[in-house]
Point group: C2
Amino acid sequence: MEVLEAIKTRRSIRKYKSDPVADRTLATVLEAARQAPSWANTQCWHLVVVRDAETKGKLSDTLNETNPARDALRNAPLVIVACAETGKAGYKEGQVMTDKGDWFMFDVALAMQNLVLAAHSLGLGTVYVGRFDAKKVASILSLPEGYRVVVMTPLGYPAETKEPRPRKELGEFVHYDKWGAE
Amino acid sequence: MEVLEAIKTRRSIRKYKSDPVADRTLATVLEAARQAPSWANTQCWHLVVVRDAETKGKLSDTLNETNPARDALRNAPLVIVACAETGKAGYKEGQVMTDKGDWFMFDVALAMQNLVLAAHSLGLGTVYVGRFDAKKVASILSLPEGYRVVVMTPLGYPAETKEPRPRKELGEFVHYDKWGAE
């Protein structure tokens, strides 16, 4: 699938078929994350691929009861939990280099957007889930100290088609040469 | 260009031709950013497209003198400065929803990775520049309060070809079902 088409036709998928994802397909999706750029090539991302039904259930339970992604995490054949090693991105020799502090959120997002677009190009659905009890997820997955849970997505074949959600017009967020100029 | 090929062949480009970027090409690249997913569809990103030579020079001067991207910001026909409205991503009704606080770093990265991949698929180069004096950049671009400067990239046709940088093996960052398991 063409890059521009993939970007335009990707949707947030919350209903999944139970069809498994082939190991080779999963490897392609993980490889896409691997190729992302990162702060000084620090590659702070870690991905936990959850196949075990009981673990998926526990992850689902860390979401609010009203979150529409709860069933998705339980029903999709796979869940990817994106984590980060802290103190790498945004640092040089142990010192923070910018006013943003640790850049793990930025770099994990770059890797995950590669993964999401690659998945879509292979016919797989994803949805970013950011709101959950991250401490509980860290405990479920036995995350060591120095690592953070960032975001989760189910991964599997979509059982729904969706219309695009509304987006701001370019004129609402693009400025020329300085703020507010068209 | 295919998604997987774009992800695999993208490089961080620091040498640019002076050839201009057509308005229509720029619009395609901006449209890719527009299509990114975001926290509750809040779309907190703002992009300042800098064409003015004096402004590009000022932006370049906010980088460390040893930063190899300094010349790129000066020489590329365009610079994109990615900014964020704070207090949107990661919030619900004014309250932070996760242990990560404001998610602007994550959502701006999603939009920028779309932009970077779209640019590459159109033959354009980019490089994420994160280390600069963000206060000075905010002042140069007249950013209002409530907005942050996140990252910059030159945008133009590459004047260099580069080999891929090394990446961790999948086994170094992919875990199965729980941390450390293969």
